[in-house]
Symmetry: C2
Subunit: 173 residues, 2 copies
């Protein structure tokens, strides 16, 4: 079977939807990502993919820590949209959002979040446009029970679009 | 906010469910994974996490290629269960399954698959128990339209358990 490269196939890959946050000095920032995965069980490690153009990438490079908040399925676009479509270079994305600082100093977003975790970076894979940050989870907790938002939920019922820096963005045909 | 490390938080991370296949000489093998993600758009690259104990890991190391078949939501456990709970060292997992060889030589499983892709490894991150294989997608196609199986579907409606080599396995309390 000889196939071309049909990017529609990539749409069948499944993801959650998360807010990833970090800090630099006393500045906080965060962004939406679809790519948080657990990569080992012992020790518990996760990976996240971040576009190098994003301010959160700079902050993680500098602080070597990040936090993840798992969006609940009912989180409204008005809440998390600014985390995907605005830059922390232009606005303080955390100013209107409920959060608490965790043990790493990263903001743990407590609004519309099912669970949170904090992680310390142990490796970075340079992919050109993006980095994979591999990190050891140092704290985690469940804030409430519920169904997590998925990337499919976001694209279908909410008619969401991918930010231009997402690894899943489809180039113009 | 100071949190302990509560692994229940990890259960809120979302994944799909996939069959990842490779080959070594004239031997074919494959396994279930939940960790296939797109990591860049240009060029289209994916990452997959594989336990080093698994035969598929050996095959990918040797051949430097793998294929991914996206399971459809209605795929029965009887079909894909053997890919997770049996080893290719003991049985030929492909013998009862419909597949075609792709341009890389990897088997593309055409039964209960929505989409397939083939990828050439460009980097490997050694995580001790697991490897992250980063790979360029060289062919992909949609076989049928439908809803993809998610890891949540597998755990809840199908009451599936994680194979002991999964990155998401929870150690005994």
């Amino acid at each position: 079977m000889t196939l071309e490269l049909d990017r529609k196939a990539f749409r069948d890959l499944s993801y959650g939807l998360y807010l990833v946050t970090s800090f630099k000095g006393d500045r906080l920032n965060g962004q939406v990502v679809n790519t948080v995965i657990q990569v080992t069980s012992e020790p518990p490690r996760v990976a996240v993919i971040i576009n190098k153009k994003n301010l959160t990438h700079d902050f993680i490079l500098k602080s070597q820590v990040f936090a993840v908040s798992v969006l609940e399925e009912s989180a409204p676009m008005a809440f998390f949209g600014p985390f995907g479509f605005k830059s922390g270079r232009d606005v303080d994305k955390l100013v209107k959002v409920a959060f608490k600082k965790g043990s790493t100093g990263c903001p743990l977003i407590t609004e519309h979040s099912l669970s949170v975790l904090e992680a310390e970076v142990i490796d970075r894979v340079d992919l050109g446009s993006h980095s994979i940050f591999v990190a050891v989870v140092v704290s985690s907790g469940v804030l409430k029970t519920g169904r997590p938002m998925t990337y499919h939920n976001y694209h279908e019922p909410l008619k969401g679009k991918s930010p231009r820096n997402a690894p899943t963005i489809e180039p113009p045909a």
